[in-house]
Amino acid sequence: MMTTKKVIGKEQEEIEKEYREYTVLSLAEYEEGLRNGKLLGLRCASCGGITCHPMPVCQWCGGRILARVELCGAGELTTFTVIRVPSEGFEEEAPYIPCLVKTKEGPCVVGRLDYDTESATQELIGKQVKMSGTHTCKGDKFSDGAHTCPVFKIQE
């Protein structure tokens, strides 16, 4: 005689209810912020440090409780280079200047520097800069589409 076997496992609704996402600020939202002229980051509830670009935990202490914050967009030029031999897809843009900027709030960000490539010399390092716009790279078949980075300008 057949007996009905009890179906074990967890209710689907319960699994859906328990599922949780942790991202406070996604890359897409960060890039949208840039295109709206805002440099967005995350403030850590534990140490007060600012994380930028967005990361899953505080870049300074690993803290898990983060809240969105807007950075002022100003900082100091840490370093830069002039790319003369570019990657495939960047031929039309070269020469151009990627840079590293230490923001007033603490974290460094990578972007482009809006400056004449032929007069960009070592003396620029340490100068005050401010976010002045964005650069969007349309992406290629190896990337997941267009991505945007901040553009900085030297504050004379």
């Binding site: 280079t81 990657s87 495939e88 990627p98 590293l100 460094c108 960000v109």
Partner: protein, 396 residues
């Protein structure tokens, strides 16, 4: 944990290859088993570095195909591709050593292969840049020379060395490594640029200010492989085993998260891990093969590993302290700059040349005298993303 020995080594000529990656790796693998005097069937696992085979030949799982074509272990052994960009082979070797040490295996093969030269500069620059942080460094259009150019500018600023002076000091790294590469019959630039001048480096084409093309290593094809076994068995196969005394590995993140481009934490921690594991310090090391993907990279590596104080490696290089007969001979094989840099193979190539030094078999003009007791490799993948160090000794 057991001690681990290297009993066989193989290395193809670096440069432009007409062979496929599978064929290149097979060449190195066959050299290595012949050198060890063992059979292909004795190999119990394969650890293969390969950074970008999907983009070069449309090939993934290359390790499985290599193991199959070589009929390693008479078929169906574990064979895994390791990817840590330019440090791929080093992490493969480190992992292989762990498998021997743990007793999981008694004899394994490790190594690496790459075929990057056929892609041409534009495409190769693109796929190498995949080891940058794609979300933030991608749209900025950073390239690998670009990352190290930014580090060079920081080096100049941090240590108050004028850019003109630093460019001369960096050029001396290229001059030294090309001198030794020109003497190495397996090097991409064998018999070429052996008497390069500082002015030629400085006046060659700018790639990413302030780095010129002669501050950069080339794109290359090539493979290297080694056979490892438990140390207590090594003398059954060879009279001159080389022991793995310590290894270290470290990881970095996006450039923007680095405190200082000239002091990569990933390299500092990896090197310290290796020294601690080996119970040795920089002053014990007699010969060093390090990751000179760019001239500035050699200076940063020397300081991060503790061979020179911060900001002192440029002057030390100019002073000849990294030459044969100096405080620490560096890249006597020619390094990446003179020997070539098939990225997935480079770590295994570095180990190959340290073993050759320890056997007294490096090329005339590159062999140091006396034969070194202790040697070390330093391999960097990505923009300080994957770092690996291996310390080798003639005795345990």
């Amino acid at each position: 944990m057991r001690d681990v020995a290297i009993i066989g080594i193989g290395h193809t000529k670096f440069g432009r290859a007409s062979k496929t990656s599978l064929e290149l790796f097979s060449e190195a693998a066959l050299q290595a088993v012949d050198d060890a005097g063992v059979d292909l069937k004795d190999i119990e696992a394969l650890f293969q570095g390969a950074a970008l085979p999907g983009f070069e030949e449309g090939q993934v799982t290359p390790a499985a195909f290599s193991a199959a074509e070589l009929n390693l272990g008479e078929g169906s052994i574990p064979a895994t591709r390791y990817e840590g960009a330019c440090a791929s082979a080093s992490i493969a070797i480190r992992e292989a050593a762990e498998w021997i040490a743990s007793g999981q295996c008694d004899m394994v093969m490790a190594g690496g292969v790459e075929k990057a030269l056929l892609m041409g500069t534009l495409f190769a620059t693109r796929i190498f840049a995949m080891a940058c942080h794609a979300p933030t460094e991608g749209p900025a259009g950073l390239t690998f020379p670009g990352v190290f150019a930014m580090a060079a500018r920081r080096y100049s600023k941090n240590y108050d060395i004028s850019m003109d002076k630093l460019r001369e000091q960096m050029a001396l790294v290229s001059v030294k490594n090309h001198k030794h590469g020109a003497l190495n019959p397996l090097a991409q630039f064998y018999k070429k640029m052996g008497d390069l001048k500082v002015e030629e480096v400085i006046n060659s084409k700018l790639v990413a200010d302030p780095l010129t093309v002669l501050d950069c290593c080339p794109f290359s094809d090539g493979a290297a492989a080694i056979v490892l076994c438990a140390a207590e068995e090594a003398r059954k196969y060879t009279d001159d085993p080389v022991y793995i005394l310590g290894t270290g590995q470290g990881s970095g993140g996006a450039l923007s998260k680095m405190k200082d481009l000239t002091k990569p934490d990933s390299r500092i921690k990896s090197a310290r891990m290796a020294f601690k594991h080996a119970g040795l310090s920089p002053s014990d090391i007699d010969v060093l093969e390090l990751h000179d993907c760019f001239t500035i990279a050699e200076l940063i590596a020397l300081e991060s590993m503790g061979f020179f104080g911060w900001g002192e490696a440029a002057e030390a290089t100019a002073d000849g302290q990294t030459e044969s007969g100096g405080k620490i001979p560096v890249n006597m094989s020619g390094g990446l700059i003179g020997k070539g840099h098939p990225i997935g193979a480079t770590g295994a190539s570095q180990v190959y040349w340290i073993v050759k030094q320890m056997r007294g078999e490096a090329a005339k003009g590159n062999q140091i005298d006396p034969v070194p007791e202790y040697g070390m490799t330093d391999t960097l993948g990505g923009d300080f993303g994957t770092l690996c160090h291996i310390i080798l000794g003639r005795g345990k």
